[in-house]
């Protein structure tokens, strides 16, 4: 009898896994002190926090001045926030007539019901609510600009953070569908469609956005006939959208390329045809893969709205910059830019977190 030939005496019945080391100590040991290197990094990080956080807190809150009418009222060693109270309206609304500011607030509030059914599509009633989402851009534009009985506000009154949000949001909403079409165009079987899409994408990716901003302000009015005189902010939105679309297109194209050919063939074999195959089979999968890149583009777009400064629009950054040129508030750059940064950070961070949530939720069945 061969000594290599053996059988088990009894089959092993399944057992529960051994208990993990739980509790705070267990967690600390597993995550922060698992090795000497990890422990050293943990201590270094704690040291850096200890250096930075108390200093920032002391400067920004404990030693800071909050009241006053000029920078000379700020006498302590910390930050001077005295301007916030006076200037907050301008930072948020620009030169929008204060008695009409409710329209901006309303437009922004309506964004919540407009976004919810899109962001969380398992919400009850999402189907109906999505009609409102589709109508939202027009509702918001009507509220901001007015007309049809509502007092008209010329767009050169737009400014502050409201301008950043308006341009950013319009760019985001428009560049996604447009970018998807460009990505499909670049992979089209039709040579002319492919050529035009590629040319568009490469042009907008190959030239800095600032250049397009100048073009929006200076060049377009020269080329367009006078009765086509598009509003400056409208022109900026169109250019920002085109610019972002080129990036979205490339991100989506990457997603499309990551799918096996068989997916498209199976859809074709079922008789779905090109557009239905794209909408029902290909894009849902390609977009899911593209989420990180798409959100990345949106975040970049939102921050790039500050570039309107070069064509003399007063967004939040330009308002802050001109305020610290005012002798009353001279030299408060740190405070003003920190203040502005918080606005951008909160919004960009929220977008980033949402994209993580979306990725996790869509990661079903894999």
């Amino acid at each position: 009898m061969s000594t290599f030939h053996r059988t088990t005496a009894e089959m092993v019945t399944p057992r529960p896994p051994p208990p993990l080391s739980r509790g705070v100590i267990g967690w600390l040991r597993a995550n922060l002190f698992s090795s000497w290197f990890n422990a050293a990094m943990t201590l270094l990080a704690v040291y850096l926090l200890w250096l930075l956080v108390p200093g920032i807190l002391r400067w920004g809150l404990l030693d800071a001045d909050f009241a006053g009418t000029t920078r000379f009222d700020c006498q302590s060693a910390g930050a001077c926030w005295a301007w916030v109270d006076q200037r907050i309206y301008q930072f948020l609304y620009g030169f929008y007539p204060p008695e009409q500011a409710w329209r901006v607030n309303l437009a922004l509030t309506l964004l919540i019901p407009a976004l919810l059914p899109v962001l969380f599509d398992r919400m009850p009633g999402a189907r109906w609510a999505r009609w409102f989402s589709l109508a939202y851009p027009f509702v918001a534009a009507f509220l901001l600009v007015g007309g049809y009985g509502l007092a008209e506000v010329p767009t050169d009154r737009f400014g502050g953070f409201m301008l950043n949000v308006a341009v950013g949001l319009a760019g985001i909403l428009l560049s996604l569908p447009f970018g998807i079409l460009l990505a499909l165009g670049r992979r089209s079987q039709l040579p002319l469609v492919r050529l035009l899409s590629t040319a568009f994408i490469e042009t907008f990716r190959g030239i800095p956005l600032v250049t397009f901003m100048f073009a929006a302000a200076l060049l377009l009015p020269i080329f367009l006939p006078p009765r086509f005189n598009l509003d400056l902010i409208m022109r900026v939105i169109i250019l920002v959208t085109m610019y972002a679309s080129a990036y979205i297109a490339e991100v989506v194209r990457g997603g499309l390329q990551s799918l096996p050919r068989g997916q498209y063939e199976a859809a074709q074999a079922l008789g779905l045809g090109y557009w239905r195959a794209m909408r029902l089979v290909i894009l849902p999968q390609a977009l899911k893969v593209s989420i990180p890149g798409i959100v990345n583009t949106f975040i970049a777009l939102f921050k790039d709205t500050t570039l309107v400064i070069v064509i003399g629009l007063f967004d939040i950054l330009n308002i802050g910059t001109s305020m610290i040129a005012n002798p009353n508030w001279l030299g408060l750059g740190t405070e003003v830019y920190a203040f502005i940064s918080i606005f951008f950070f909160v919004i960009c961070f929220a977008m980033s977190r949402y994209s993580l949530h979306l990725e996790r939720r869509l990661d079903v069945g894999r």
Binding site: P260, G262, Q263, E265, A266, A267, Q268, A269, L270, G271, L272, G273, R276, L280, V281, P284, Q285, K288, L362, V364, G365, R366
Partner: protein, 255 residues
């Protein structure tokens, strides 16, 4: 044209597929050469041959996943041309099962099955679901309806793929090596479903090297090599008395 190009059974007067002088090139490579083939309604054909002989290309021409340069292709009375309407009409009549299953991973099994009936046939959702469950029953996996394809075994996925095609109530089913990507113990469950389908009278073109399946259900076995149909015969004849040297060599390698 030889006898072997003609249907063996079924209603010989009403061919469902007629291929005349079909030629196809990939660039300069002559992938299909002077193919003539007539398939009768209800006929079961098994296509075999060495890898790269053009088997997939041939059946993919039938539902226009590949286009051909020369010859004519009639499917159920419709001539295949560049006309998108014709192509989509034919595709909804012709089911196809792939080696890699190609289920849609973002949809549940049930949604995979109802997608085309709802969007192509305009079937109400409830009816489509009823139909899908009926076919999932027929491939023996109704209990998996709400899972995602990634949660199923290969054999189960391939059976869902078959059910998905059947939900369009096709008149012809094409199979491109349906069991080649499967672990041995799963091949049987898929072949059983296919035998069952063959018994129901479905017109089938099956690329496979499962010669047991060919012997059991095929009306005709076609051997392809170098883009041509080298030999076509009833399975009894084909396996016991092959005529061409190439066929003999091929059979000696796989049997």
């Amino acid at each position: 044209m030889s006898d072997a190009d003609q249907p063996r059974t079924g209603d010989g007067n009403a061919p469902i597929i007629e291929i005349r002088g079909l030629n196809k090139w990939y660039g300069g490579f002559h992938a299909l050469r002077d193919i003539n083939l007539t398939v009768g309604r209800g006929e079961r054909i098994v296509i075999c041959g060495p890898s790269g002989s053009g088997k997939s290309t041939l059946i993919r021409c039938i539902n226009r996943l590949e286009h051909h340069e020369q010859g004519t292709l009639m499917v159920d009375g419709t001539m295949l041309t560049n006309d998108v309407k014709n192509i989509e009409a034919i595709r909804s009549e012709v089911g196809m099962v792939f080696q890699q299953f190609n289920l849609f991973p973002h949809l549940t099994v049930l949604e995979n099955c109802t997608l085309a009936p709802i969007w192509v046939r305009r079937m109400p959702k409830a009816d489509a679901e009823r139909l899908a469950l009926e076919y999932l029953q027929r491939v023996h996996i109704p209990e998996q309806a709400h899972k995602y394809p990634g949660q199923l075994s290969g054999g189960q996925q391939q059976r869902v793929a078959i059910a998905r095609s059947l939900c369009m109530r096709p008149t012809i089913m094409l199979f491109d090596e349906p069991t080649s990507a499967l672990d041995p113990e799963m091949i049987k469950e898929v072949l059983e479903v296919m035998v069952d389908l063959a018994r129901s009278g479905m017109t089938m073109l099956v690329i496979t090297h499962e010669m047991g399946f060919a012997k059991e259900v095929a009306d005709r076995v076609i051997f392809m090599d170098e883009g041509q149909i080298v030999e076509a015969a009833a399975p009894a004849e084909f396996f016991t008395n092959p005529r061409s040297e190439r066929t003999k060599l091929f059979l000696s390698q796989i049997l």
